[in-house]
């Protein structure tokens, strides 16, 4: 694999696809769809190749030499502008145990979402072009190791998402799209400010010995690179570091979405077409927590340790608050959207534990939530396509009419409830084991267990109202699943079952990275305290 730019390939392949689609006449809808499907399938193949060549022992995180499939060259270089010195930005890609599962997840979810896009009939060409652009943005965020590049990918996602919701969405699509756009942009601004602040606080040493300001995420984790007067330098005794951390955190928290920044999510989900909901819940939400683990935690280990309790607190609030909101919903899709808020709370709780168990659980939960929620949104889509309604109380007895579909629903719902044997269980269990084991947030973990009960309550209640009881005669013509729906639901079911029985398939990928991250935070946080005292 040496020297083969597999990461660039997997990231920019969709752009190639987009160009091909742009050259296709817009009547060739099937060709457009097949091109997209092929591209996303190649992405899956590529991520599997990566996984097969992946070194499970290499940790990454803060260690330049243990990142894998690295591609690095100078992208922008403006030499010698007065006091700025040389401005340079690297095209720097690489993955470690944190990003590998996310790359895998992204390729799986986008492939499934492509299948789910099959029945999009409005402006097919535009849709799939934007879809592929979005795909590049997401992949890029997970593989970028330069903050500037990370930011560029982060922003690239925004635009297609805006149009995909705003054009192909439901009745209130404009409102939802604008809300999504502005909210996320707000987060981006915070991120931009912190990025610039960090840039001016640290310098990396180039091979020729020159010291230049840097966006390199790995170099930024190294305390030796900071100058004492850098505004965000760890040894600088001001509070800007804390402010920057919070700003950056809010930027990521909006994506998670964390209470109280979550209200864009139900609107975006309800209005977005099914495949976009799948992508949104399956991948986009993970960007927030990924950003925290990739950027906030290693660059600000001191503040992370200081604020871990609050992260846990918000995780707990998400879990319980989201569950209560889900319980009150009358719209099927909105209910699932709030369940996402609740389930992402487990991720926050897990990472707040700052223990290997908790963070392993959190990343596994990111992966599992991605597949389970993708399945849940597909399920909503199946029913909506047939009935054109999403009111939970409008149904009843669907299990009689659509038994196979109901079987899949049961699997997905119980996976979301955290039934052992399905993937959701082990990640939630590890989150609880980790957070309970961390003395700092033990109480939060104990309160959060309430989420296990509430989660079962809203899921089972919904299951009962839609699927059980006498068949509502309005729906006696609904057909059970077709081949396309099988092709989306079966792979996800298999993944959910497989990871429920053999979670180590994902856990092993990230073990060494997570361990290294936790060790790094603990040791460096202490070092920083010592230097600042």
């Amino acid at each position: 694999m040496e020297g083969f730019p597999i990461l660039s390939l997997i990231t920019f392949l969709p752009i190639v696809g987009m160009l091909i689609i742009l050259f296709l006449p817009k009547e060739q809808q099937q060709a457009i769809r097949l091109t997209t499907l092929l591209i996303t399938f190649i992405q899956i193949v590529l991520s599997v190749i990566m996984l097969m060549n992946f070194d499970y022992k290499a940790s990454g995180i803060f260690d330049n030499s243990t990142f894998q499939f690295v591609e690095k060259f100078r992208w922008i270089e403006i030499p010698g502008i007065s006091w700025l010195g040389t401005v340079k930005v690297d095209y720097f890609l690489g993955i470690d145990g944190l990003s590998m599962p996310m790359v895998l997840l992204t390729s799986i979810v986008t492939f499934i979402a492509t299948l789910s896009s099959w029945n999009i009939t409005k402006a097919v060409k535009g849709y799939f072009s934007l879809f592929l652009l979005l795909n590049t943005g997401m992949m890029g965020v997970f593989v970028a190791l330069d903050f500037f590049l990370f930011y560029v990918f982060w922003e690239i996602m925004l635009l297609p998402m805006y149009f995909l919701i705003g054009i192909w969405g439901g009745p209130r699509k404009e409102y939802a799209a604008i809300k999504f756009f502005l909210y996320t942009l707000l987060g981006s601004i915070f991120m931009l400010l912190v990025m610039i602040g960090l840039y001016f606080s640290a310098k990396e040493t180039l091979p020729d010995g020159a010291r230049v300001f840097t966006f390199n995420l790995i170099e930024l984790t190294n305390i030796a690179n900071y100058s004492a007067d850098g505004i965000l330098a760890p040894m600088n005794p001001n509070n800007w570091r804390l402010v920057a951390y919070i700003a950056l955190f809010i930027g990521f928290a909006i994506k998670v979405p964390m209470f109280p920044f979550h209200t864009w999510l139900p609107d975006a989900h309800v209005e977005a077409p099914t495949p976009i909901s799948v992508i949104l819940a399956g991948v986009l939400l993970k960007l927030g927590t990924y950003g925290m683990l990739r950027i906030s935690f290693p660059i600000f280990p001191d503040i992370t340790l200081q604020l871990a309790w609050y992260i846990g607190l918000f995780g707990m609030i998400n879990i319980i608050y989201g569950a209560f909101c889900a319980l009150a919903q009358k719209d099927f899709k909105k209910m699932i959207a709030y369940s996402s808020v609740s389930h992402m709370g487990y991720v926050l709780l897990g990472i707040a534990s700052l223990s290997t168990t908790g963070i392993n659980g959190a990343i596994l939960q990111m992966f599992n939530h991605g597949t389970i929620t993708a399945m849940l949104f597909l399920i909503v889509g199946v029913l909506y396509d047939r009935s054109h309604t999403r009111g939970i109380d409008d149904f009843g007895g669907i299990a009689i009419q659509m038994p196979i579909y109901t079987g899949f629903v049961t699997v997905a719902f119980f996976a979301a409830i955290g039934l052992p044997g399905l993937s959701g269980f082990i990640s939630e269990a590890l989150v609880f084991v980790g957070s309970f084991g961390s003395e700092n947030i033990r109480i939060l973990a104990m309160v959060s267990t309430l989420g296990i009960l509430l989660g079962a309550a809203y899921m089972l209640w919904t299951l009962q109202r839609i699927f059980f009881g006498e068949l509502n005669q309005k729906w006696n013509e609904l057909k059970d699943l077709d081949w396309r729906e099988y092709s989306m639901l079966i792979p996800l079911t298999l993944i959910i079952l497989f990871l429920g029985i053999y979670p180590s398939a994902i856990l092993d990928i990230m073990n060494s990275s997570v361990k290294s991250l936790v060790d790094f935070i603990i040791t460096n946080a202490n070092n920083f305290y010592i230097t600042s005292l």
Binding site: Y321, F324, A328, T357, P420, F436, T449, L454, G469, K515
Partner: protein, 688 residues
């Protein structure tokens, strides 16, 4: 037969039913006769179980066999899964698989014609798998995993006829009520894992034995015990979480027999047996009180219920209370013994009621029944034997196990001064005999309640009758001991089951469990000398009292319902409030609905409102303010900023217009301007 073979057999026993489930659920829609595969699987499982149990109880009776593998490992965390085979395990395996097998048989006829016949058998398969997992596990995590899985199968089977709202309600209620207990259990597991970094029972116990306590405190040890016990409170339907079990009767009757009477509900008791050695005296007292109160509560409710299955359901709750209480008072062996005897006679009673319901075309109200004795002699006889067993009448298995528990309560009262427990225990013995015979008389004696249905009723076919006969046979003493009045001289308690030594610190043990006093210590530690002596001298009083009370209960049942010497209605009227309390199940469902359920729903509405109008309101408000602000800015921009620009333009226009007049284009005018200007200049710059 070597240990390895035994382990492999156990693993096959565990996974066969899973295979049965997977095959039946996936192929059931296509292949109509798929349920035969499931029947085949359960038969094979039973045969293997008998082989395994036989060899374990003969060749390896004093050894514990186990095997495990690492499931998840990272950093310093290592999570093992494994199985453990001791005598309790194999006996449980036998009980579960035998009853499961009989229920499969019974269902062939009982469920005939159901449109989801194959699915029903598939669900029985996953239930059997999950239950066997609980039985075989050697660690808490696997216990929890299978614990949840039996919860799932119970949910699926209670709501099997999901067209009925009451059925799907009951399924949901069962799952959620159980989850409350499971949260407690999960927290208990978390406490232990946080301290011992393992889920394995034996490793944890050896650590506790070394004096390593959770968070270095006996309080946490007690807390862990009580929290884990909460799991049992849910699954074994103990107060205050017992409310799901009577509703679970919405499921098909063979399911009630298998899951909600004989096996799954006993899983809580089984869990407590596994935890027994780490229970402190405080935790045990809590368990004893919960068990005793539950058995009393349920017995009082059973007195007035009019649905044949509900009476049995409450009797199950009550008997489970006995078992739980038995653990709390330290009568470990009798708790397990009662679990086994109860499983057989209660399964027999439930299947008997199923036989009746089947014959009476799904009539299960007592007022419709009556007089069936002649029509259904086999059902009647087997039902009678089981009723005698549950009432604790000599020569039955129930007599042996119940008597042991009651003697235990008496000893406990004497040793600790907690007399409430034996008082409740003996009261329940009286009530049980009474309401069970009430049920028997109202169902099989007297006159038919519904003549038309009665006329069509007939004895069930052999596939239904055979399980009844076998189960009622197993309710006779001879299978457990050769001596009909002493269980301890039998192989069951003498050879197979012995009380393990507790590992908690001496300071947290009951006086009678302290090791300083245990002269009887040998390879199989039983109890301290004090306890043994007390047990001995309360044995006969307890036995006489319990038989007496049972007899009185039966006598009164006959006086009330058979011979009608006492007018029931009159008596009912004179104690109306008490009757209502019992009939309405102490109003607990109403109380829970009004508080917890409605409270949660109301809270969810409030939070959702808050989310929509406050949290999102702030977001939209911000947007609105920005919009209003921008209209002001626009106004300023249009009228002030742009206004200034326009003003300048307008002014220059006006000035231009004014000045334009000066430019006439006539040379004469210009000459006048020039001369005038020159004059002005001369005046201004006048030379001095």
């Amino acid at each position: 037969m070597t240990e390895t073979i035994l382990i492999n057999i156990a693993l096959v026993i565990l996974f066969l039913p899973l295979l049965g489930f997977a095959a039946t659920i996936n192929l059931g829609a296509k292949i109509k006769k798929m349920y035969y595969f499931e029947i085949f699987i359960i038969t094979a499982t039973l045969i293997l179980t008998i082989i395994a149990a036989f060899f374990k109880l003969s060749d390896f009776v004093n050894t514990q066999i186990g095997s495990s593998f690492t499931w998840i490992a990272f950093d310093t965390v290592k999570i093992d899964l494994g199985i453990k085979i001791d005598n309790i395990t194999v006996i449980m395996l036998f009980v579960v698989n035998l009853i499961s097998f009989l229920v499969h048989l019974f269902s062939l006829e009982y469920m005939k014609g159901d449109k989801r016949f194959n699915r029903y058998f598939a669900y029985l398969g996953i239930f059997t798998f999950s239950m066997l997992g609980i039985v075989l596990t050697d660690n808490l995590l696997m216990m929890y995993i299978f614990w949840e899985l039996v919860g799932l199968s119970s949910y699926l089977l209670i709501g099997f006829w999901f067209e009925k709202k009451s059925a799907s309600d009951a399924g949901k209620k069962a799952f959620l009520t159980n989850r409350i207990g499971d949260i407690g259990m999960f927290l208990g597991i978390l406490i232990l894992f946080a301290n011992y970094n393992t889920f394995n029972f034996d490793v944890i116990y050896s650590q506790i034995n070394l004096g390593i306590l959770p968070f270095d405190s006996t309080v946490w040890l007690t807390a862990a015990g009580i929290l884990l016990f909460m799991g049992a409170v849910g699954k074994s339907a103990q107060f205050p979480l017992h409310v799901w079990l009577p509703d679970a009767m919405e499921g098909p009757t063979p399911v009630s027999a298998l899951i909600h009477a004989a096996t799954m509900v006993a899983a809580g008791v089984y869990l407590c047996l596994r935890l027994f050695v780490m229970l402190t005296s405080d935790a045990m007292l809590v368990i004893a009180v919960v068990g005793a109160f539950t058995s009393f509560l349920a017995a009082t409710i059973a007195l007035t219920q009019t649905d044949i299955k509900r009476v049995l359901a409450y009797s199950t709750v009550s008997q489970l209370g006995y078992m739980i209480m038995s653990i709390g008072i330290g009568a470990y062996a009798f708790a397990f013994f009662h679990l086994v005897t109860h499983a057989f006679f209660k399964a027999c009673l439930f299947l008997g009621s199923g036989s009746v319901i089947h014959a009476m075309h799904h009539s299960q109200e007592l007022e419709d029944l009556g007089g069936l004795r002649k029509k259904m002699p086999v059902t009647y006889l087997t039902f009678l034997i089981s009723t005698l067993a549950i009432s604790g009448i000599p020569l039955t298995s129930g007599f042996l196990s119940k008597d042991g528990i009651l003697a235990g309560t008496l000893a406990f009262g004497e040793l600790t001064g907690h007399w409430l427990i034996p008082i409740l225990g003996f009261t329940v013995a009286l009530l049980t005999a009474f309401y069970m015979f009430r049920l028997l008389i109202l169902t099989f004696h007297g006159k038919p309640g519904n003549q038309e249905k009665y006329n069509h009723a007939h004895e069930s076919k052999w596939v239904m009758a055979f399980p009844l006969v076998l189960l009622s046979m197993l309710s006779i003493f001879i299978f457990y001991t050769p001596n009909p009045i002493s269980a301890e001289s039998g192989w069951f308690l003498d050879k197979w089951i012995s009380t393990p030594e507790t590992v908690v610190p001496e300071s947290t043990r009951f006086e009678f469990m302290k090791s300083s006093d245990s002269e009887l210590v040998d390879a199989n530690f039983v109890h301290s000398k004090l306890y043994e002596e007390t047990m001995h001298h309360v044995h006969y009083p307890a036995m006489i009292l319990s038989v007496l009370l049972g007899g009185i209960g039966i006598l009164f049942a006959f006086l009330f319902y058979q011979w009608k010497k006492i007018n029931v209605d009159k008596l009912t009227n004179s104690i109306r409030p008490l009757y209502n309390l019992s009939k309405n199940k102490w109003y607990l469902d109403e109380i829970y609905n009004a508080t917890f359920i409605n409270g949660t729903l109301a809270l969810s509405k409030i939070i959702s409102w808050f989310d929509q109008y406050i949290v999102d309101g702030i977001v939209n408000g911000t947007a609105k303010i920005t919009k209003i602000y921008s209209t002001y800015i626009k106004w300023i921009d249009t009228y002030i900023v742009d206004g200034l620009v326009n003003l300048t333009a307008i002014l220059s226009g006006i000035i231009g217009l004014a000045l334009r007049k000066l430019q006439t284009g006539k040379v004469q005018t210009y000459i006048v301007y020039v001369i005038l200007s020159l004059l002005i200049l001369l005046i201004v710059f006048k030379p001095v």
